[in-house]
Symmetry: C2
Subunit: 438 residues, 2 copies
Amino acid sequence: MKIAPISGFPEWLPQARIVEQKVLDTLRSTFELHGFSGVETRAVEPMDQLLRKGETSKEVYVLRRLQGEEGQDSGLGLHFDLTVPLARYVLENAGKLDFPFKRYQIQKVWRGERPQDGRFREFYQADVDVVGQDSLAFHHDIELPLVMVDALSKLPIPRVRVRASNRKLAQGFYEAIGLENTEETLRILDKLDKVGPQVVTELLSEHVGASAEQAQLALSLAGITTEDASFVDRVRALGASSSLLDEGLEELATLVTEANSLIPGSVSADLSIARGLDYYTGSVFESTVEGHADLGSVCSGGRYDNLATAGNRSYPGVGLSIGVSRLLARFLHQDLLRASRKVPTAVYVAVNDESERHHASTIAARLRARGIPADVSHNATKFGKQIKAADKRGIPFVWFTTAEGEQVRDVRSGTQVPADPDTWTPPEEDRYPRVIMP
Amino acid sequence: MKIAPISGFPEWLPQARIVEQKVLDTLRSTFELHGFSGVETRAVEPMDQLLRKGETSKEVYVLRRLQGEEGQDSGLGLHFDLTVPLARYVLENAGKLDFPFKRYQIQKVWRGERPQDGRFREFYQADVDVVGQDSLAFHHDIELPLVMVDALSKLPIPRVRVRASNRKLAQGFYEAIGLENTEETLRILDKLDKVGPQVVTELLSEHVGASAEQAQLALSLAGITTEDASFVDRVRALGASSSLLDEGLEELATLVTEANSLIPGSVSADLSIARGLDYYTGSVFESTVEGHADLGSVCSGGRYDNLATAGNRSYPGVGLSIGVSRLLARFLHQDLLRASRKVPTAVYVAVNDESERHHASTIAARLRARGIPADVSHNATKFGKQIKAADKRGIPFVWFTTAEGEQVRDVRSGTQVPADPDTWTPPEEDRYPRVIMP
């Protein structure tokens, strides 16, 4: 029996898992502070749902019952993102939800990538979306990136800045300069970072018939980034004009201005953002961790006017998604984040002799009753060994029952003082493991 | 596109999800109070691991990459419990873990059941186990069920009582009365509840060659249940005797006596417990929610002397598992548990006019900064409608910016008073949704 990690399926040792759990908890509590309801959907969706749209939909794990008919799939696949499940959940429960429906969802997703590609095949995403019934006000386009900025600012990582663009702006501009195939143009410009302006110019010529001048204008647009609404003048200076372009400029200017008014420095305009997915219809977002630009966008999303439709009802939405596992992998593997100890335990209760284990157990129970994580020594070896067992796990305190009464020892300083198990409390920073930046 | 629930894959509306999340949080925090480290393993295991043992191992979902070779599985399957992943995790990380290793794990598991069987195919399990390297002291057999009793006692459900038996006791007894096939005998006795003594007697005769007298003795043993160690005398009264039986009686007596000494009424002896799985080697546990015996055991487990082996190393363990989803389904479907509101929001900030949305957003931000979940009205309709929108979601307070200054209204009483967004605090019971028993 081979025991080995499986490429693309990350797992953590207990100490790193404490960090992951803390990050997930922080995201969750922030989303709830902003009034988002938690939703958890099943891991599987019918294959016809999964294959409905998007480029990722090809990377699906299909499920087959081991006891099922040979070669016959169950018709179910693991979800590859949390947007497809949201669309289905909203349609399935439309009659029971209050709109606009604000939901967060923090779950694993799976991508059936080729093992040799080294990409994550199982990872956490943390999504926030607001979904309207038939209509959804634009102010949610401002609210959603700010929820993410607030949540990410509470994590022990460098500042994350959201960059925004607008699909109407891009499409309006391309159409105004005579490039009619917006989808393909965006797809090509999305590669700008990787392949450079020369190749993009060639691709635009080849695939959307762009002249040298048209390609140059498209590249000029993609080159515009500003901290405020001044991008509007720079776009205007390129000379193109259309009502769709105006609408896009207006939306993005409002977004950047209001977002920075509420949280200074939170959102900048970056017209190079293309977002390959074809379901975005307005605002689009990416974001960068300062000092970790090579990590790419850790939080992305946008506005989609048709998350789902049912009869004559439509469900427009706007939302963003954090790639939690990718973010964590960077900071944990480079040891930029660490839990202050390996276990939840704050107090290790020593056992004098197996005949006194009962007493030690009651001490631990009394500490736990007051919310102090406590464990009882698994054996009754010499005290030096019991202290070493605590220290090895990073447990800060060892409790002793001595001839002079109950005592607690700070393992770090070696100080040992009398203590009452019904009143003694560790310093607040020692009660639970903390996440530290070594 | 068909939108419908998939049988066996439960999902909750947001209000019920609040209850589920609260239950999961309570279990987690209790496990941590007892010093257990959280572990999360990938959802998949190699098929050879999954098929290694146990009856459930047949009910596996096998994964296939949609883009993979036609008809070729990935060699991976979804885990059907959290014990197989634990065994693999311990072997894979043995050099980096501290033993005895105490871990909890709260995750979804999947069973590839036939859809028409109506069983859960995706559900939450919450497991605690302690795993030793080469040896593991018996006192952990007492510790583990008490961790579960403590955790379950904090849930808003009726009292859960653990029932215990011992594999050595059963095997020692059967062998002493001349029934050599312990596995098969246990498997048959496991059906006693369902099929009754008459059929069990016939099955024992047919499959393990039991005489009427032997069958009667086995049934007599299964009939013994006591709140304390008095079961020992009743077993002795049946006349069988062996050193293995003695060992089992001693272990179970110690367990029941010490457990009830630490938490009165926590664990009783029930010699009818057979536990079909063949890897248990000592203590075995089941448990019942008072008033919900028909639900079956909601928390089960036991001692296994060979969770895993590697070379000449062995990893004995003892642990229990709560079937969280099944427990929750009962209490949520019968409306025995409910969240006090549908959303996390405690304060709904009204918007006088879209031009004043910025001000409302800053009020909400100031409340959130002090840990008060706040949302801003999605539109600027009449105040009566905004209050109704809050009330519909169960949000207790609506915030108004009036000509007389900032004010907060208790939606339930209609009382509206002046309030400062930097100091006003809701009653503690209104800050977060609570779980109530209607």
